[in-house]
Symmetry: none
Subunit: 156 residues, 2 copies
DNA sequence: AGCAAAATCATACTTTGGTATGAATGAGTT
DNA sequence: AACTCATTCATACCAAAGTATGATTTTGCT
């Protein structure tokens, strides 16, 4: 039971905060007697607020649906030996899935903030991911990372 | 259906806990504070309804994350028509030779300072060139410029 | 159940990138 | 000769990128 609470504490936290806001609205309602009878307004506020919060929460909590998309690749020039070597290099890099994901969004020209928004993560998180990525790829800048990622066929 | 419930269990859990807490609050209010609660109940219903609705909508509307899967498939070369169109686009961009030069060094991952050193120019000069370049390519960042330059076959 | 790696977030800081504005120079054109 | 355009450089300022460090949480694996 306790573990349950700990595990889903975010859920309870959100619920609690929502309740708090609701209570606050109620208090305000009783303090500001002027608009005592404009209940519709409060309801509208609450409806919008909760709709937005609900939406945000849902996006936060639910892992995004993944759709597999086949990418067309020109592999004609590379010999099987080359491909094998590339595969080996890729494995030696030992990139995590997140790092790879970040790299691919980088290659499309997204800023760190945009990547964070896209993946529903915070900006610092993206920064740490990219820092690790640069270390592993032994590069200094994102443009170099993209270049190297392209050479290793991690992108496109 | 069952899968759906399992997959989004957090959301349902959130909604359920929200309802529970709100109802509890209502009861407490009724018992302790003796506040007229007919409107509150209405608002609670609306809040819960819209929270769930917002969550549902968000889940419905969110774009599925696309995961690129490599397929080693041979892709036909560009048709002459495509090449012609690319050439036309390139000409319409009206890039100066310096701008093109800067773009190509960018694509290799060089920093502005490094580009300046390479071309025996000053840093401000490179900055103005790159600014113009971004304008003409209608992009905001160097990574986007590289991406667009690649699409237009200005690089490689 | 417990551990190691991955992932997340934060804060503070430095560096690089990008914009705005202005200005000087030289090459080629009308 | 006047004009346009590309090129060069400068200064100042704001935004984004990247580093360092530390902490917490998930998660995959034994």
């Amino acid at each position: 039971m306790f573990r349950f609470v700990v595990r889903y504490k975010l859920v309870f936290l959100y619920a609690a905060s929502l309740v708090l806001i609701l209570v606050l609205l109620n208090v305000l309602q009783y303090k500001l007697l002027l608009i005592n009878h404009s209940y519709e307004f409060y309801m509208l506020c609450i409806a919008v607020l909760f709709a937005v919060l609900g939406g945000w929460l849902a996006l936060k909590l639910v892992k995004p649906k993944t759709v597999l998309v086949e990418t067309k690749r020109l592999v004609s020039e590379l010999t099987p030996t080359d491909l094998q070597q590339l595969e080996q290099e890729r494995q030696q890099l030992n990139l995590s899935s997140r790092e790879l994901e970040v790299l691919q969004l980088m290659a499309r020209g997204l800023s760190n903030q945009e990547i964070a928004d896209q993946l529903f993560l915070s900006l610092p998180t993206i920064k740490t991911h990219s820092s690790r990525l640069f270390e592993k790829l032994e590069v200094k800048r994102r443009t170099q990372a993209v270049e190297k990622g392209r050479q290793l066929r991690l992108i496109d």
